[in-house]
């Protein structure tokens, strides 16, 4: 049974004041509490659900396919247990793109062959096949963030964003839509591209908390779904997107784990382009871990 059944016995009906006999014992106060029980369940899919999230840097107004997918996150969701894990994939991973495309950065997969090629490239790397691919761009990201009312993000370090010059504090930051976008896109002021992938995960966790906090506000889930329908490119029909949005709120932020696949810095080609050779054993191990129960074993090392 996957319903959440938190027994809360908290509603006070009445209290009888203790009779205190002078010079004698103190009598206990008797309370009578009514029993309140909760139950929650959302039907989406059984077992672990794999979702590939892609953030395209295509210019506003142009097709998302024209951009590089610089944010790549593979999510495993176990909606029965409320567990979820995020596997971050650095955009500069040098991989053999399937369908005869050849070696390239993994962030070119969507541009080269759309969602199916991107999903195949990720499957070749991690060993699991994403069931759904959700792609967003700057406009869609801003729209969804605005609808959510901004987002609280926990940053592990302080820095200024590359664009917008937003001061990010270590700890909790509240970002509006533009600030959140600057936070997600910052690279040069960070230690490495891996930090950017970690920031993307921090952002996703912030969105999860925001959705859970506001899910019972009248109209919120419909507004955020409408925003997602307009701001995401996906094969999911709108009704399934609505189900997914409602189902995601079953994920418990305390049961969320995340890792970034690491690799070895290298240069390739006549222009000595900087890329990363992925740590395939680590990628496959993370995929196997999350496939069991959407939880990653402690440690993100291979």
């Amino acid at each position: 049974m996957r319903s959440l059944r938190a027994l809360a016995r908290a509603i006070l009906l009445f209290a009888l004041v203790a009779l205190v006999v002078p010079g004698a014992t103190v009598h206990p106060t008797t309370l009578s509490l009514s029993q309140v029980e909760s139950a929650k369940s959302v039907d989406f899919d059984d077992g672990v659900v794999w979702v590939l999230l892609l953030g395209s840097d295509a210019e506003d107004g142009s097709s998302l396919r024209q951009g590089n997918t610089d944010a790549i996150e593979l999510l495993a969701l176990d909606l029965d247990s409320g567990a979820a894990s995020a596997i971050g994939i650095p955009r500069d991973f040098w991989v053999p793109l399937p369908q005869g495309v050849g070696f390239d950065r993994i962030n070119q997969a969507y541009k080269e062959g759309g969602a199916s090629l991107a999903a195949q490239a990720v499957e070749d790397l991690v060993g699991v096949s994403p069931e759904f691919v959700l792609v967003t761009g700057f406009d869609g990201f801003r729209s969804m963030t605005e609808t959510a009312g901004g987002v609280d993000v926990v940053s592990s370090q302080s820095f200024f964003t590359d664009d917008g010059h937003v001061r990010v504090h270590r700890g909790i930051n509240h970002f509006n839509a533009d600030e959140a976008l600057y936070f997600a896109a910052t690279r040069s002021n960070l230690e490495s591209d891996l930090r950017r992938a970690a920031n993307t995960q921090a952002l996703l966790l912030g969105f999860l908390r925001q959705m859970r906090q506001r899910e019972d506000e009248t109209g919120f889930m419909e507004q955020i779904t409408s925003s997602a329908i307009g701001g995401l490119q996906t094969d999911l029909p709108p009704t399934d997107l609505y189900r997914l949005a409602q189902a995601i709120t079953q994920v418990d932020p305390r049961k969320v784990t995340g890792c970034i696949i690491t690799g070895r810095l290298a240069t390739v080609g006549p222009e000595n382009a900087s890329v990363i050779f992925p740590n395939y054993p680590l990628a496959q191990r993370l995929g196997r871990d999350a496939a069991e129960d959407a939880e990653l074993d402690p440690g993100c090392h291979g």
Partner: protein, 203 residues
């Protein structure tokens, strides 16, 4: 993803026993607008189900489409309320309350039957509704209503052993409209059974 349980549409809407629920929307009104038609009176002493739309976004939803959606969702809700809480008592057939639930959700709901129905009050002599309110928030795609959250507040009074006992359920029921049929695909509810739990504290 599963569709609603087969062949449930008609049965879910069938009123049983003496309880007669009136879905105001189906009768042409009972929306949030003060100019709406007066409420109809139920034919029993149970309260009527009051359905009203509180949110439908910035859509182009026409009043007729909204009324149609209210009526369809109201039918699902009224069928659920009748099967889950009303009907002829004593009774044991609470599992059929989930006929309008999607397949996987119906299985989970069976595990939560004490929170989603009057299962614990099966031995009651009678149960009547004292309040049945549902505020609807619609998800509109184009001109079609494709989803809804029903914010429900249901209150009942059970007669057991000559004593009146309250029973309440409030929270959200999530619905989706697929293939011109509405089904419940999620719930997030709190039930107050009125059961007293004695506790002692020493001041």
């Amino acid at each position: 993803m599963m569709g609603p349980m087969a062949g449930t549409g008609g049965r879910a809407r069938r009123a049983t026993g003496a309880a007669v629920l009136l879905v105001c929307a189906a009768l042409g009104g009972c929306t949030a607008e003060p100019s709406g038609p007066p409420e109809s009176q139920p034919s029993s002493d149970s309260a009527a189900l009051r359905v009203r739309t509180v949110v439908h976004g910035d859509s182009n939803l026409t009043p007729a489409a909204r009324a149609e959606a209210e009526g369809a969702v109201g039918d699902v809700l009224s069928g659920y309320v009748v099967n889950a809480f009303l009907g002829d008592y004593p009774r044991e057939d609470f599992a059929r309350s989930f006929e309008s639930f999607t397949g996987s959700l119906a299985r989970n709901a069976t595990g939560d039957i004490d929170q989603l129905t009057a299962n614990r009050f099966g031995d009651a002599k009678a149960i009547r509704a004292t309040r049945l309110d549902a505020d609807l928030s619609f998800l509109v795609e184009g001109s079609d209503v494709i989803g809804a959250t029903a914010f429900v507040r249901f209150q009942f009074e059970a007669t057991m052993d000559g004593v009146q006992r309250p029973l309440g359920m409030r929270g959200r029921l999530m619905l989706v409209n697929e293939d011109d049929a509405w089904s419940v695909f999620g719930y997030d509810v709190v039930t107050d059974t009125g059961d007293a739990v004695e506790a002692e504290v020493t001041p």
